[in-house]
Symmetry: D2
Subunit: 405 residues, 4 copies
């Protein structure tokens, strides 16, 4: 990327790495930098980022700090949850789902500030570079994307710190030693990779977890909660109406307390390697189970099974960074179509790391006690119908058996 850059919008956390990137962009490209810091619920103060950016010479009007929490949950997390998306059977896509929103804002701010490029701090080995860049290109095909980790020669921790010191970037004491875990956090989850986690036979040490108590330290009594859904989205906790982000935050508190949503996974990255990650998705895990619970009584079998068949592909698209691709949108259209009547209440039991659906009710329930009962059903169902049903389902198998015996 030797082309000239006039102005670049940087996804800026205020931390050491993106501060180094900020300075490197100024030095390497001689360009103006616009910083963008998003509040996605990661639980950190954001105002310090403003001060640091100013210190590094960023104009006040070029410092963007946005609270995106409601948009994040409403327009990204909840649509994904409607699909019951889990990558490789388990991962709730907490990092993957945040990248398209950050990219969207990067591109918007670039337009607003007349920038011709955006930059991110993701490395060249991971999925996030792909997610950022596919999203940015899909939203503005002419944007330039700078990925310093793929370009620069600061390939060791020491080189990075030397660069920082040389440029008067403050280096926190705890960053001086060996490289930390690679972590990501937002309202949906916290993830960690690297270091001791790199041996998939070693159990994740407890100190790696930050969002949940150890289940063994969770309360000895279970707690029951209810979540209300309307048209596929959560709207209330224990009967109290809440906005999307408020609801997820409240579920996070519950999940933290009961040690829910820890996941230790070896997964397949889009770039072709396996990695081992630790995820904590306390509120997301509760929400995901509740959503399946309300679907179980409000979705018809045909809709439910189609959703299950489409899910792995949908989750893979989000994981790989194709949120803004037409096939993701097509799948979303199908999924959203199914959620019209997914309304009602789910009751859950939270206890020492586990969450179980224990009750579900809905004004739109398709469950018919009259049909299913072992007692007299007053003619709702004629058992003799089953004979013909089985006969015709068996016909092709009988013809096969006659041929092949």
């Amino acid at each position: 990327m030797s082309e000239s850059i006039k102005r670049v919008v940087l996804a800026y956390s205020g931390g050491l790495d993106t501060s180094v990137i900020l300075k490197w962009l100024q030095t390497r490209y001689g360009c103006e930098v616009v910083t963008f810091t998003a509040d996605l619920g990661q639980g950190e103060e954001l105002e310090p980022a403003r001060a640091k950016a100013e210190l590094m010479g960023i104009k006040p009007e070029h410092i963007f700090i946005d609270d995106l929490r409601e948009e994040f949950v409403r327009d990204f997390v909840f649509p994904m949850m409607r699909a019951n998306a889990r990558y490789e059977g388990d991962y709730l896509l907490g990092t993957s789902i945040a990248r398209p929103l950050i990219s969207k804002r990067l591109v918007e701010i670039a337009k607003q500030t007349g920038a011709d490029a955006v930059a991110h701090g993701a490395t060249g080995k991971g999925n996030d570079q792909v997610r950022f860049e596919l999203s940015c290109y899909a939203l503005n095909p002419d944007i330039k994307v700078i990925a310093p980790w793929r370009e620069w020669d600061l390939t060791s921790r020491t080189a990075l710190i030397d660069f920082a010191e040389k440029h008067q970037i403050p280096v926190p004491k705890d960053k001086r030693g060996e490289s930390p875990f690679s972590t990501d956090a937002n309202l949906l989850h916290t993830s960690s990779e690297g270091k001791v986690l790199e041996d998939p036979w070693e159990e994740t040490p407890d100190y790696v977890y930050s969002r949940t108590v150890n289940p063994e330290d969770a309360p000895d009594a279970p707690e029951y909660v209810t979540i209300d859904f309307e048209r596929g989205d959560g709207v209330a906790l224990n009967g109290q109406a809440m906005s999307p982000a408020t609801l997820l935050a409240a579920l996070n508190d519950l999940g933290r307390k009961h040690g829910i949503g820890r996941l230790d996974l070896v997964e397949n990255r889009f770039v072709g390697m396996k990695s081992r990650g630790m995820y904590e998705t306390p509120g997301g895990e509760i929400y995901a189970r509740a959503h399946r619970g309300i679907e179980s009584i409000t979705l018809d079998r045909g809709a439910a099974h189609l959703k299950d068949e489409l899910m792995p592909k949908y989750a893979e698209l989000i994981y790989n960074g194709f949120w803004f691709a037409p096939e993701r949108e097509m799948l979303q259209a199908a999924i959203d179509h199914s959620q019209e009547k997914v309304s009602g209440t789910v009751r859950l039991k939270l206890y020492k790391g586990s969450v179980a659906v224990v009750g579900r009710k809905s004004p739109h329930s398709l469950y018919s006690e009259r049909h299913v009962t072992f007692e007299d059903d007053a003619g709702a169902y004629d058992q003799k119908d089953a004979a013909g049903f089985i006969k015709l389902n068996a016909l092709r198998l009988k013809l096969l058996a006659k041929r092949d015996r």
Copy 2:
């Protein structure tokens, strides 16, 4: 079914219901009855069934009592577990997977004894009638299948008990009152439906569970175990080699102790209605998680994702009774092809109702610490490759964006 029947093989448990069926077959069809009682690990004495059958006039050479536990786990449960099959996201198919084996033996015994029909005790509302009959017809297209619950007029509990008393069939005291839960048990699971469970808003009362302790009563300390796999199948527990059925039984003991594998589900039956069931699959739940764990380091992404996409259909086929259908066999061929290198060891933590994979290792591991490390990778991976990878993945999205802006 007014045709004449000469001899019928009855799936006979020795309990009240199948004893009534036995007598009803003798009475209604005037035919000879052959009884078949299978030990699938349901945990009941089977010899009493012999005595009862003899009492009802069955010839000794027409009484079959088979121990099918090893065949059940080796040829049915394990192949299904290779697919990571879960119906509607959760159900481990404990009842569904037993029916094809029972049907296979019914048809074999019919051939051996010259019987022209088989009979089962499943009702006309459920899935089991379909599973039994599709399997029997697929194995012998000329067999006649008698389903007394769809034919007779014993439609109330009272009528059934009157019939029993009229024919000197002993009625246990606990069967005199209202109808019991409808249950099914084998080495893989125990299920219950009916009665209080018929209201999906009501939590399943603890007395319904019989195979697991309540998580709240489980040990306060977690327990760690290892399972070894070879070519996709479990072969050892804590380093000790075990046959398939022995391994599953040992896992059941562990699961029982730690309250693992309870599931409360509203599911969609093949016959078109929703039902609410309670399942306990203690060892199966542990095994299923372990299998995914070993796959996570030994299966390539392409194989793993294809399996995830095929799984919902595979599970649906088993649930609906199509074990002996060519499409299930085709899927099995694909799945089994993937398991060649699925060998190694998984370490699990069992604690108060939950089971978590905490470590996995394999001589065939595809996990490459050298590739994934955040540290210096000695040239294993060139981060610059990612730029081209992203550019070409983005190309179609850029062309779309250029068109649509």
Copy 3:
């Protein structure tokens, strides 16, 4: 079906079979009959049906004759064509797609006339009974459906004709001999089954075809036509704007002339048996190819491939009668979402039975000559990007190969 029926709406063609059914309904159920005759473009006079119905005592206000051609093509054929639906690789679903519309009108007329039942003339062996009944039940779960062919004892041609003569129903001379082909016709296609076609080794005799000339008798010179599409639907032929039904009719004329759209197929019925059918879909075949042609330049790969993957299931749903099922509607939502930019012009060559796309253009084309050219592309595409693209796509295969050598 021994229940009492007050008033029934009969799908009435005016032919011998449905006239017998009309009389049989009056006789068997003692109920009032409402007749419904639909013009779906089958190319027959419909007013004689009115006269016949009146002769059989139907009240004038209970005789419904509707021209449904535009609705048929606009709301059923075109949406299906957006999916490129072909059952078992070839069949364009001409009969299957008409049944939901007829059912919809039956249910509407039942409501309008206060009828409690509907009746159709489909036999108990075919797919049409399923399609009619699933559609009717999905639209009105309380409706009763009478299927005389499954109920009565007129199981031979002779019995049917005897019944007709006994009740003064005129029997056309050509219906006196052996039973005719079973045929179905509408604006989309004509099908024939039965008789000589029952041996799948025998070539379909030319006299069975009625909608197309034999390709050998078609013009010796090819004819070129253009079809314009807007948002996935055909809107003009050779530049001349046309309504959906008018367009399809004009394409039928072209297809007839050039012998296009003949299909001889052994297919799998939903009821479990194979049947051999002959189909003529002259305009539909041209339209279907044109639609794929316009999609080839306007759909992104991701959308196109997802459509191809979903298509077999979508086609199966329509074939099996599940037009009004939620999973068909979900798939339709996904498909329709993709058609936003499927606009432009396709040029086709028609010649002696074949139709080929020879040109396509669109204001929304995604085809970029600049990118694809073998000549100098002025930097649109950097060939070096391909190296990284391939390297990362290869990574998992390399890791596999290293493990398995």
Copy 4:
């Protein structure tokens, strides 16, 4: 790719481009070159390639000329045809399926000659580079692959010819002018891209076709042929047993004569752009239709529909170069499992560009005239069974309708 190369195996056609590559490899890398020329049925003399290679200093023992026709058809084309694979609905994958075999031989010869690299003549814009390289890496993860078109600076036709002349490489007269079509040929097909074809609105001129007569010049009388299949593969033409390659060659002659297998397509390349190609697959088109014909009477519905659902993904994998990936092998295992009874005879009519199945018969036919007949079926099928079949299929739709009205 600045690493040192000792010896490289080049896929060498003997034409101008690969001769230039040969010389460039010697010059650029100072390495020894091994040439590999494959006879895949492209219809060219191969011995001239030997003479040219010798002229350019290749040692006789380093010149490999292999007749791979039987292996190509038996182990690549036929397995793919078992899947009824067509990319994007139409393309029979003639180029895609040859690349893995060439790659396999490149890697084998590299091993045999102690070469550390292979080289191919595919450009950086197309699919073939991906197919070659993914296959080579999957077969030998340590092999180096050199793709001169992505490396050198011979980016114009003139530069290429200058290089040739400077190095005494003979330049045929017809190669001096503008660049020719990009073509590929083997026993399965011939493809052309580029030049006039780059405008997708322009009809492909007749002179582009080389393997088939224009349908308008084909015989005025149709020709009927039969193909016999055994276990999914063609084994005889018109009753005469033939090897795989012999059969395909004979079908090519028939297809050429009748103008069969021309295809004009805009397709989506793996590298992200659309391209327009012209394909001639005369024998392959006949074979593909015949294979579906024999499957139509020998495959059960479950197997047939599963194959149809899996096909798009299978075709995409081959198109994208993943022949040697585990997921392709898994799908192949499923497909091959289905072909056990796919034996019998198909009769086809060839006429002026079209090929139609007109008859099929098999000792393993599942078609049952007795079941399907409109005449008396002697009790093979009880029409009343259909009532129960429909009722239970309708049940979930009725419950939906009751809820939603």
